[in-house]
């Protein structure tokens, strides 16, 4: 079990795990939205409709593959691929559990413990813009062009508050590497509060969650593929598995963003007042830490679905107004306040 095999096993595990979560997410979205709207949602394909994502996948695979006549062939196929790459690769630096010990070999449950994890996530996050613009512009359709333009403006202008909020967190925990941030979140501060990011950065969390919704194109900000305005936004001309890649990429994006939220603000795998490693054996501890991390992510995934079916959609200028005129000032204010607090307490 030398270094290479462990890395490969971790990559394969994480890659298949996010794929599995993405498929289950399509089912959760359709059942959740149905139960919110007093109806039942898919329940014929398999027990409780669990095989519905499988059916969608098979149908999308076997659909006829064709590009519109005047579409730019290369860009048309490159769009979804870029978007999918970005969605998966952001997961490389996010720790999904503490340590696990197998036959006296300690494995860190993180694909790559990069010490500038925070910058990597931001850099990969901005790749998503390419996915939309290249796809939108390549399919030679006015609606998808408009969808692509909206996506660019929205994603770029919400990268800034996202970065500001994460910067404030890195300042409080004093390091860029996500692993150290999550390790520092054990224990309590001010006596009873757990040492989580949300209690140290309440305003920062607010800015982060709103910017995360904009990054993931979820409802209040889902203008790039506004169903009723631009027919289907940037993926109007896409059918078959290319469309599948876009839809899949969106759900994987959700999972990455919620994992990021949990790592920074909700103490990745820590349970507030209990130090798990003392009770459980090393192997059990690793697995339990993974499960705790996943449960917290599940709550945020459900929150994405829950908010989607409750509130209407922004108009484009209000979207930009909110981003520039309220989120960025809040992010800066939060940055100064944390800097000031650190100066006093240290």
């Amino acid at each position: 079990m030398n270094e290479w095999t462990i890395a490969i096993i971790k990559v394969v595990f994480i890659w298949s795990w996010t794929l599995l979560i993405a498929t289950i997410m399509t089912w959760v979205e359709r059942r959740g939205s149905a139960l919110i709207q007093d109806r039942l949602g898919p329940n014929i394909a398999g027990p409780f409709g669990l095989f519905q994502p499988l059916a969608d996948g098979i149908k999308l695979f076997t659909k006829e593959e064709f590009a519109p006549k005047h579409a730019h062939k290369i860009l048309f196929t490159l769009g979804p691929v870029l978007f999918a790459i970005q969605a998966f690769s952001a997961y490389a630096v996010i720790p999904f559990g503490d340590k696990i010990v197998i036959n006296a070999k300690e494995i860190v449950l993180q694909v790559a413990d990069v010490n500038i994890g925070f910058l990597f996530v931001l850099a990969v996050g901005s790749l998503a813009v390419y996915g939309f613009v290249v796809g939108g512009w390549g399919s030679n359709n006015k609606y998808s062009l408009l969808g692509g333009l909206r996506a660019t403006a929205q994603l770029l202008s919400y990268e800034v508050p996202l970065g500001l909020a994460m910067l404030a967190v890195c300042m409080t925990y004093g390091s860029f590497s996500l692993r150290e941030i999550s390790l520092d979140q054990a224990g309590t501060f001010l006596g009873f509060l757990p040492n989580w990011g949300i209690f140290k950065q309440p305003l920062g969390f607010l800015v982060f969650i709103v910017a995360a919704y904009a990054e993931a194109n979820r409802v209040p900000f889902d203008l790039p593929e506004a169903e009723s305005e631009l027919v289907a936004g940037y993926h109007t001309e896409y059918g078959g598995m290319r469309l599948g890649l876009y839809l899949f990429g969106e759900y994987v994006n959700l999972y990455t963003l919620s994992a990021l939220m949990v790592t920074i603000y909700f103490g990745a795998w820590h349970i507030p007042y209990v130090d798990m490693s003392s009770y459980l054996g090393p192997l059990a501890y690793g697995i339990v830490s993974f499960l705790v991390f996943f449960l917290k992510c599940a709550f945020f995934l459900w929150l994405f679905v829950w908010v989607r079916w409750t509130i209407p959609r922004f108009r484009f200028d209000q979207l930009m107004g909110l981003g520039w005129k309220s989120l960025i000032p809040l992010g800066l204010l939060n940055l100064f306040v944390t800097a000031f607090l650190i100066q006093i307490t240290v």
Binding site: L35, R39, L40, N43, W306
Partner: protein, 208 residues
């Protein structure tokens, strides 16, 4: 023309997005929990407001205007005398009736002197308005409760006399035959006379 500029001051609660969004989330959560608990119950009709069609059908009104049927009287004889009133009144002209004279041998099969040799309704044209049922002097044609009419070819949707009669027999056995139409009281007709003429006039108030 200058458009009137509209400004409305938002209260503090409205200005911050969160207050209203949380209220909205609370409401959808109530719905979600109620339906989630309901959907775990056994049986096809789990969520109260959703009917799972093939297994749990919704109750259909007795007067529902669905697939037609040619009714038989108590002695099992066909009531229809192929007078063609229904074909004339139909706005979509989708009924074609061919008249045939009753030969001696088949007295007991038909009520009147004439019988419809062929009675076809083109369901693709029909708008199920119920005028044929209303104007039929013998109340032979009746709109039943059948609504599963989808077919692969258009030709199969032209229903013939046999199917119309089978519909009636099926409805007779399953017992959800329509109650006979109540007479519509007509204003102005004199009381005694109205009983006779009113009754005749009422039921055929809108004959053609």
């Amino acid at each position: 023309m200058a458009k009137p500029v509209v400004q409305r001051k938002y209260t503090l609660g409205e200005r911050i997005y969160l207050v209203e969004i949380l209220k909205g989330l609370g409401l959808t959560w109530k719905h979600f929990i109620f339906n989630f608990r309901a959907s775990l119950k056994p049986g096809p009709h789990t969520v109260p407001t959703c009917w799972q069609y093939p297994w749990d059908r919704r109750e259909i009104a007795p007067v529902f205007r669905g697939e037609h049927m040619l009714s038989l009287d108590e002695k099992g004889r066909e009531k229809c005398i192929a007078c063609g009133m229904c074909a004339r009144v139909c706005p979509a002209q989708c009924i074609t009736v061919k008249k045939g004279k009753v030969k001696e041998g088949e007295e007991e099969k038909y009520a009147g002197k004439f019988y419809p040799a062929s009675f076809e309704i083109d369901l693709l044209r029909c708008i199920f308005c119920g005028f044929c049922e209303e104007t039929c002097p013998k109340s032979a044609i009746v709109l039943g409760q059948g609504y599963e009419l989808a077919q692969y070819e258009g030709k199969e949707c032209i229903i013939t006399k046999e199917r119309l009669i089978n519909n009636f027999k099926a409805a007779l056995d399953s017992g959800n035959l329509k109650p006979p139409r109540k007479k519509v009281p007509v204003a102005g007709a004199k009381e005694k006379k109205s009983l006779k003429s009113g009754d005749k006039k009422g039921s055929k108030a809108q004959e053609a």
